[in-house]
């Protein structure tokens, strides 16, 4: 199993500042999967399966705190993504920054 992607392999060559920026960007993007993360990744509760409380009330609380926005669109009608030029990888972006300096 290949653990390291092309961007991962470049981590050793980054400065601490570059590593911090790369991780911060990755952490931003990773927020998108929060709802799908397992409840525990480490510790002794990883095998525990807490059933959601029936009277959880979390959605109501979020609405009351104005932290929930009603959906405007229907994802089933979204269609395929538009054609985009290839995005720059993190490694390429950092290499470009170094050249600019």
């Amino acid at each position: 199993m290949e653990l390291l992607s092309e961007d991962d392999l470049n981590l050793k060559d980054m400065t601490w500042e570059e590593l911090d920026k790369a991780w911060d960007l990755w952490f931003d993007l990773a927020q998108a999967t929060n709802d799908f993360d397992p409840p525990y990744t480490h510790g002794v509760f990883v095998l525990c399966n807490l059933e959601p409380r029936k009277d959880d009330g979390n959605l109501e609380r979020l609405i009351a705190e104005d932290r929930v926005v009603p959906a405007r669109l229907d994802l089933t009608e979204l269609g395929p993504p538009p054609e985009q030029p290839r995005d720059m990888t993190i490694s390429e972006a950092l290499a470009a920054q170094r050249e600019e300096r």
């Binding site: 653990l3 920026k21 991780w23 990755w26 525990y40 990744t41 480490h42 509760f45 095998l47």
Partner: protein, 262 residues
């Protein structure tokens, strides 16, 4: 922009070394991958360290997640404590603490708080204890172990790597005294397949052992976790939650399920 878990580690240790960064963020520190969304620390097993962590987390509005109280009575039994907060950008931050990580001796844990590289550096778990912590029931941890082992001297790498090609490459020179079956298979002139099979058996054994250990904690915490949920601990401020979760734990959570049989 910076790694907020690195920053939090420094803040936790600002009054003295109490929290050693471990698991996924340690893998980031060793520049192997941009891996984990959560922060995991090995905590010095003292009431003062627990108070320091709770004070810092409370400052950032953290809440308890279902888990053991951050209290030495339960930490000493191998339990883990779990918290969640948001950063100023609204990003989810999860913080997990243990004081007795699995497969790391008490002497090794004590040594983590006095690193050889000096007090100025970030307090991060060493590669070998990190590898042993990652010998879990999760299959995804084993490729990480292989990459971590590459950071070790060859005589140690051959004892810990999960990469069959590295075992084959290192066994003849560095595996003479190894009791490890994949290394012995390589030294005995076995095929690559023999090494792979021995490695797979070893990995499976480690996974089963960890799963059996965690199963004891699961059985011991079942009623407790439901009581914590019913008490809506996560909705309370951290100081209130800590008092309440300790009350619940005193009633429902055995201090050490591995001693009491769960």
């Amino acid at each position: 922009m910076s790694n907020l878990y690195f920053d939090l580690t420094e803040e936790l240790n600002a009054e003295g070394p109490i929290a050693v960064l471990a698991s996924g963020q340690a893998v980031v520190f060793y520049r192997l991958a941009l891996m984990s969304k959560d922060g995991d620390w090995i905590l010095r097993e003292t009431p003062e360290a627990c108070r320091r962590v709770l004070a810092v987390l409370a400052k950032y509005g953290a809440h308890y997640r279902p888990g053991a109280p951050l209290d030495v009575r339960w930490l000493a039994g191998g339990w883990s404590s779990h918290f969640e907060l948001s950063d100023p950008q609204g990003r989810r931050i999860r913080c997990d603490f243990v004081s007795r990580p699995p497969r790391v001796s008490r002497d090794e844990v004590a040594a983590l708080f006095s690193p050889p590289q000096g007090p100025a550096s970030l307090l991060v778990v060493g590669v070998e204890p990190l590898i042993r912590m990652k010998q879990t029931q999760r299959a995804k941890d084993y490729p990480v172990i292989g990459e971590l082992a590459r950071l070790l001297p060859p005589e140690r790498e051959v004892e810990l790597t999960t990469d069959p090609d590295r075992i084959i490459a290192l066994a003849s020179l560095y595996g003479k005294d190894s009791g490890r079956l994949p290394v012995r298979a390589a030294r005995a002139g076995g095929s690559r397949e023999d090494v792979v099979i021995a490695l797979a058996r070893e990995t499976d054994r480690l996974q089963q052992e960890d799963r059996a250990r965690l199963e004891q904690y699961r059985r011991a915490s079942d009623t407790y976790l439901h009581e914590v949920q019913a008490a809506r601990i996560g909705d309370l401020s951290l100081p209130q939650a800590h008092e309440r979760i300790c009350e619940i734990a005193e009633r429902w959570l055995p201090y050490n399920p591995l001693e009491t049989g769960g």
